[in-house]
């Protein structure tokens, strides 16, 4: 298991979650947790996913970024450690 965090931020529109989830399913990425809020009209989602089976993290992060551009949102994929180290002792 290799946990990564995907964040999606941008203008709310139909099908954001569907498109991201479809991409993840097609690439063998299991979703462990999803939380989502709307802040000042902006869609804000965080997914905790397992990228242990992914061949190239770099490709995954790059393709998600591209997918985001297509929908008009910003998608970032980062390994979990950066958040763990900053917020947990």
């Amino acid at each position: 298991m290799k946990k990564s965090i995907i964040t999606v931020v941008g203008k709310d529109t139909v099908g954001i979650i569907a498109k991201v989830c479809t991409y993840l399913a097609d690439n063998g990425v299991n979703i462990l947790d999803i939380s989502q809020t709307i802040v000042q009209g902006y869609f804000n989602m965080m997914m905790i996913v397992d990228t242990g089976a992914v061949k190239s993290f770099d490709t995954l992060a790059g393709e998600l970024e591209e997918l985001g551009k297509g929908i008009g949102v910003v998608i970032k994929c980062q390994q979990e450690e950066i958040f763990e180290s900053m917020h947990r002792i």
Binding site: T7, N44, E81, M86, H87, R88
Partner: protein, 454 residues
Amino acid sequence: MINIYEVNETNQMIQQDNLDVRTITLGISLMDCIDGDLHKVNDKIYEKITRVAKDLVSTGQEIEREYGIPIVNKRISVTPIAIIGEAACKCPEDYVTIARTLDRAAKTVGVNFIGGYSALVAKGMTKGEENLIRSIPQALAETERVCSSVNVGSTKSGINMDAVCLMGEMVKLAAEFTKEQDSLGCAKLVIFCNAPDDNPFMAGAFHGVTEADAIINVGVSGPGVVKHALSKVRGENFEVLCETIKKTAFKVTRVGQLVAQEASRRMGIPFGILDLSLAPTPAVGDSVAEILEEIGLERTGAPGTTAALALLNDQVKKGGVMASSYVGGLSGAFIPVSEDQGMIDAVQEGALTLEKLEAMTCVCSVGLDMIAIPGDTKPSTIAGIIADEMAIGMVNQKTTAVRVIPVIGKGVGEMVEFGGLLGYAPIMPVNKFSCEAFVNRGGRIPAPIHSFKN
């Protein structure tokens, strides 16, 4: 498990407050490159640097990508070249060949600076060390990425005033040798008192003789993050202010610790230290001066500036120390002028003077940094500026440094542009009265009484 608010906080720091890891600096010992034959020394140095550092840039980029944190610079520091070249270099020009080799190696491995064209002469100079010092102006003019530093004093051994005098001349010469580029050579030359062996920041980085064969040192940064955090506690008392700085420094440092450990693991090179310095850039919102203003000063340089800076420096250390397994290097707030937009503004508005900057260096790292002065400043006056700063370091048992740029052909009020992270600066006035008779006495200033602790 990590929640959405924590994730957003981290990403806001990175995207809006310019949180980054300022540098991964790979320290490489060149002790095994020493040889009596100059060609062999050069060949061995090139071979060792390009072998040990071959994966440095790619590893940095990998970490950047995976954690989504920018790592602005990947750099190399080496053993002071005065020591490495002493057996082979008979004159200053011989040392310049090593500077060219360092530059070539830096370009091959893709790092933007290589530090360690240095001499440690706090008490006295060998012939080789003097040759290296005399070669600095030419070495900096002929190379692009080589950085030079000279340690001329320490709390333990006093101040080598002969070296201080010589450095006054060398700073002036380095300026003249690079006058076509606004005396850029001086931006790559630092004069130290109590220079640390493990500093990852340029231009003063070198790999100390007490260090292992290779080591990873990391410098974090985050003035923008601290400023943002402080903007939420405006008007609160000092307790709240200090707690906020500490908590923020802790978070910033943890990111640096993660990056340092990962770089160390992936390259198979031991982790040395994390440097907690708040290092500004010319970008708006990435300024130490703006933090001081957020604390409550109308402009940096106003009365209260030294106290505010002392507080900031101390809280950054207190917050950062617990976040890293090894802290070292310079670890404090940097107050360069040309690399900090808030400092530049303060100078231009007449709020900040050279003398106030000198006072500020008593309470923070590192010293008079990236300060442009008139091109007609005499070498003896530059030596006097260096001597003052060295005295502050020696007596206060801290690192101090001088990186001043006498910009040839320019005078007070004119602007000078260094480009990139080095920024731009207004030329500041220097006290006109002479210190020639003082700095030219010859010899050294003895170590202060409180250094005798044995």
